[in-house]
Symmetry: C2
Subunit: 186 residues, 2 copies
Amino acid sequence: MSAEARSANQARVSIHAEDIPVAGQEEISPLQLEVIELFVHAVKVLGLPKSVGEIYGLLFISPEAMPLDVIVARLGISKGSASQGLRFLRNLGAVQLFQVADDRREHFEAVTELKKLAAGFINGEINPHLESGTQRLEKIRKAAVADTSENGAFYRDRLARLGNWRRRGGLLLKIVSRFLGRTTKK
Amino acid sequence: MSAEARSANQARVSIHAEDIPVAGQEEISPLQLEVIELFVHAVKVLGLPKSVGEIYGLLFISPEAMPLDVIVARLGISKGSASQGLRFLRNLGAVQLFQVADDRREHFEAVTELKKLAAGFINGEINPHLESGTQRLEKIRKAAVADTSENGAFYRDRLARLGNWRRRGGLLLKIVSRFLGRTTKK
DNA sequence: GAGGTTGTTCAATAAATTTTGAACAAACTT
DNA sequence: AAGTTTGTTCAAAATTTATTGAACAACCTC
């Protein structure tokens, strides 16, 4: 990358030269790196992009809140990725803003209460799908009541079963929220 | 696709010519199609490939078990996809074999008990990740007890929190299984 | 055991998703 | 108000993931 191109994109942080050895990443300890990898793995299971896991993992295992450009430098990811990932995490309630005196930059810190994380994930990722599924299902059910073909009864039976699944899924989410919300015991 | 290439791959089902209008798909009713799309949508939320949703959806909303080549023809997907998708679904316990008299082909039918589906998904998709995560975490914790840097105490605190998350996650899975297992009531 | 059917495997291809980075906007500074 | 810093956007590129299809193996049937 040319110096000209870099100057257009990367802010030159006002730190001393020895702080930037060569490229982007710097001073993530081996332990931090392993924790970050743990989160990368976890978010992939949840169907979220790697960068989201890296960002949350870094904030989770960092003792201090940090601004976007530090996240970019530490993880060696692009500003765009960091910006999008942080927006996603903020929308979910997994990351919150933190104001630092004498610094115009927004600082970010991880929200670490499992209850809040789960609530954000349920509200942001699960419920919207559950609701749109419910609507689709109702539409199909309405069409099925008029089905007089030889399969009509079978279809209605299966659609009733689907409705039952959905109802139990909704109940389950409430149970999950309640369970994760209580103060931990046994 | 050339006729030669096709004959090497696609079994010619012994049905009459008018049953194969042009290409692959045939006689999925509009209602069935909508249900299949509902499942495609649902499995994507679970992080599974579209073809898995199509196959399960077709079997779920079909009154009779059907063999692989019929699934291929109805959905217009490749034999490879169908074979892999069916293996996945069988491993999960979401699809089971069904023997049809005077037919050498294996027939497949959807398992529709929510309890079984959830148990299969938990055992097949969630538990392995949870366990590997637990192992990774234990390894990191062992390294952290020796950390005498100024951040050591912070790291140990966060790792303890992660352990707590994992413990609660495991409990939650048990609760979910128990809830979905009981016969449905309010 | 030759020929046919059924289902699997896996390298190549296609499709979907994520990441990048330059351009831009907003907000501050001097 | 010109220049600087901070963060966003989005088209293009890179990466990841899913699908295809030809080759193959297993198993019938005659």
